[in-house]
């Protein structure tokens, strides 16, 4: 490989691709949308370029001198779907050797059972899944025209810097208000450690016959969500996790759903007013903090459903055709996470 462009390099996975490649001596260029997201990458003396996938001229400049791209950028419909189209169009023009597109097992729509790449895609009302499916369809259009795209579908990616599956659960466990969830938590937690996904990406960049193929990327440990909570809790050095009554949580998740939506809207539109109110009124500050904490510690309806889904995303195809072999088990992965959480000051 001459040089690999990584889009969405300011994000969790994109950041890990850039950092791992750098540490391994693979020439890489980090494409970011805004400088605010570049704190992590800025710790390295590496090449960081603006690459908003909605701006074709930025993509064009970012691809200059690259022979491959790892497409991790994700966002709203425009970014995820139009952005993918823009990137693939530019990649075709630049005649890249390989494009690795990061999709998700969300495209299977929480279908239960043993899920391999031949299973049908379905969104089941999830907006995220709809966007991921739409982006995969864009990839298929380009594959049909001969563009060398490989699509990877990772499962639950955890590891240092993961907000969704590491930081938020650490905080929930540390709050003392979290526990195992009985039958509601007996679904499969298809965990994959982030550098295992990086390994799959690396192999997808190099594998000769992978162009046009789709691959699940999962870890080797298939555990339940209850087991994940317990193992994470043990790794944090906490007292054994109690079983909690999930009915009140389910009711709270339902009741908080409109609060979550309106808080998001209010922050986006009146963020500055809220900051001012926070600074000037201790009562308002107290209320905001309590609401934020409640929202963070309460799972969403969608998350609660996920904890009960009994699905296993098999990786035989990735093992056979890419040579993918997960190397970080949940014990080691969680140890990395806990050490990182302490160093960051998120847990103390």
């Amino acid at each position: 490989m001459q040089k690999v462009l990584v889009t969405g390099a300011g994000g969790f996975l994109g950041g890990w691709v850039v950092e791992s490649f750098l540490l391994a001596g693979i020439p890489v260029r980090a494409g970011i949308r805004s400088w605010n997201s570049a704190v992590r990458l800025a710790r390295h003396a590496t090449e960081i370029v603006p690459c908003d996938v909605l701006l074709p001229e930025q993509i064009d400049a970012a691809l200059d001198g690259c022979d491959a791209v790892v497409h991790c950028a994700v966002g709203n419909e425009h970014v995820t779907v139009t952005g993918t189209r823009n990137l693939l169009a530019a990649a075709s023009q630049h005649r890249l050797d390989r494009i690795v597109h990061l999709s998700s097992v969300a495209v299977y729509g929480k279908a239960p059972g043993i899920i391999d790449e031949a299973c049908p895609r379905r969104s089941k009302g999830s907006h995220y899944a709809e966007l991921k499916i739409a982006a995969e369809k864009v990839c298929e259009e380009f594959i049909d025209r001969g563009t060398p795209v490989v699509v990877l579908r990772p499962s639950i990616i955890y590891g240092p810097f993961s907000e969704a599956w590491t930081v938020s659960f650490a905080k929930r466990l540390a709050s003392g208000k979290w526990g195992t969830m009985g039958r509601r938590g007996e679904g499969n937690c298809n965990l994959v450690y982030v550098t295992d996904v990086v390994q799959a990406i690396y192999r997808a960049l190099l594998a000769e016959n992978a162009a046009g193929e789709f691959f699940n990327v999962n870890g080797d440990d298939v555990i339940t969500w209850n087991e994940y909570f317990s193992r994470f809790n043990t790794a944090l050095g906490r007292e054994p996790l109690p079983a909690i009554n999930t009915w009140p949580i389910a009711v709270k998740a339902q009741l908080l759903s409109p609060v979550r939506t309106s808080a998001k809207y209010a922050l986006a539109r009146f963020g500055r007013v809220a900051m001012r109110l926070h600074a000037q009124s201790s009562l308002a500050a107290k209320y905001m903090k309590a609401t934020e904490s409640l929202l963070k510690l309460t799972p969403t309806n969608e998350q609660l459903k996920l904890y009960g889904v009994r699905a296993k995303y098999v990786i035989d195809k990735a093992k056979d055709e890419l040579g993918y072999a997960p190397r970080v088990g949940s014990k080691q992965g969680l140890e990395f996470c806990v050490a990182w959480l302490h160093q960051q000051g998120i847990l103390y």
Binding site: R43, I48, V198, Q343, Q344, G345, I346
Partner: protein, 355 residues
């Protein structure tokens, strides 16, 4: 927004050097409240487009790209460029006898700060710095409590200062230029200054660790000592930390949140007692007060609330901490089996190609 300065007096001619986020957030909102500001302010930015667009936005007549060649004679300057330019640009104006208000940090090193102060002395011009947190009522009360000695000696101080980086910088300077350094210079320029000011003396650096991997750090831990007091600081650009300070004295514990500018708590023999130290304003309003103070000083209508020389000890502490800093252990990189695999595979492929 604070009230308009009394009777909106005319504004002395001021060069605002640097047309980035700080100019927009801290300086121009204050200057535009003065009569005739559109003719009195000269905007300077090495990127012509940046200067012109800000001039249009704020209705300012004069702008240019070189602070050494201004279209009108100025009486003072506000320096709001990237850190590494502060000293050089301040010295240019001070040597001509023009008062200067400089964004924090005053300089990158103690030597730079000394040069700035020497230039101010030789040009007989005042130099002020935007360490506006010295105006927070809660911080002022903490200083009074420590300095009064009523709670005995300070034994231990802990400060945790972190938020997700969200500065709307016009350039990539803060994250790309090694001269920018990282979170410690950026946030420490305030926090370490406040610490030195509270203690009334300069602490010694005991240890410093950061996560820089060849460029600018996003996380830094610093241990200091001052007399018998031990001081532990943590700075982050990744996550919102508790953002609080705890000062344990012989007879009491003083606590507060870094961004609660009006209240603090003191616990001696009973439960913590909350103290209301002053009006709750936003941090912008305190910064604006300091800019108004500078305008009053150059117009001969007031004295500086504090001088740039006052913050010099904090720059020396920051410089020494960077000199002493070593990297944290980062096992999630150093011992990750996938990173090792990639490294070995890349080396093997390279060897194969060479053969």
């Amino acid at each position: 927004m604070t009230k308009s300065p009394s009777n909106s007096p005319g504004l002395p001619r001021i060069a605002v050097v640097g047309c980035g986020a700080a100019a927009r957030e801290f300086y121009l909102p204050v200057l535009k409240k003065y009569a005739g500001y559109g003719r009195s302010v000269v905007l300077v930015d090495r990127v012509e487009q940046q200067a012109e667009s800000m001039a249009r936005e704020f209705g300012i007549q004069h702008c240019c790209t070189d602070y050494k060649s201004l279209p009108i004679d100025v009486e003072a300057a506000i320096i709001t460029t990237p850190h590494n330019l502060h000293a050089e640009q301040s010295i240019h104006f001070l040597e001509q006898g023009h008062p200067v208000f400089v964004e924090k940090p005053l300089g990158m090193t103690a030597a730079e700060v000394t040069r700035v102060l020497d230039a101010a002395a030789s040009g007989e011009a005042v130099v002020m710095v935007n360490n506006y947190r010295r105006l927070f009522p809660s911080y002022r009360r903490v200083r009074e409590l420590i300095q009064s000695g009523q709670f005995g000696d300070v034994l231990r101080i802990t400060i945790r200062d972190g938020t997700k980086f969200a500065w709307k910088s016009a350039s990539s300077f803060y994250l790309r230029d090694p001269q920018a350094r990282g979170v410690f210079l950026d946030r420490g320029a305030h926090t370490v200054d406040i610490l030195c000011w509270w203690l009334g003396e300069r602490p010694q650096v005991v240890d410093a660790r950061f996560d820089a991997l060849g460029a600018v750090e996003g996380l830094m831990d610093v241990q200091l000592a001052c007399g018998q007091a031990t001081i532990s600081l943590k700075f982050s650009r990744f996550y919102r930390l508790e953002n609080c300070y705890t000062i344990e004295c012989e007879k009491a514990r003083i606590c507060g949140r870094l961004f609660d500018y009006s209240r603090l708590s003191v616990q001696s023999n009973g439960p913590p007692e909350w103290i209301e130290a002053g009006a709750a304003l936003s941090h912008y309003e305190y910064a604006w007060q300091l800019v108004e103070n500078f305008v009053a000083v150059i117009a001969g209508r007031g004295a500086p609330l504090f001088l740039a020389a006052d913050v010099a000890p904090s720059i020396a502490v920051i410089e020494k901490a960077y000199l002493r800093a070593t990297r944290f252990e980062l096992p999630w990189y150093e011992t990750d089996p996938n990173v090792s695999f990639l490294r070995e595979d890349v080396a093997a492929n390279h060897q194969q190609r060479t053969v």
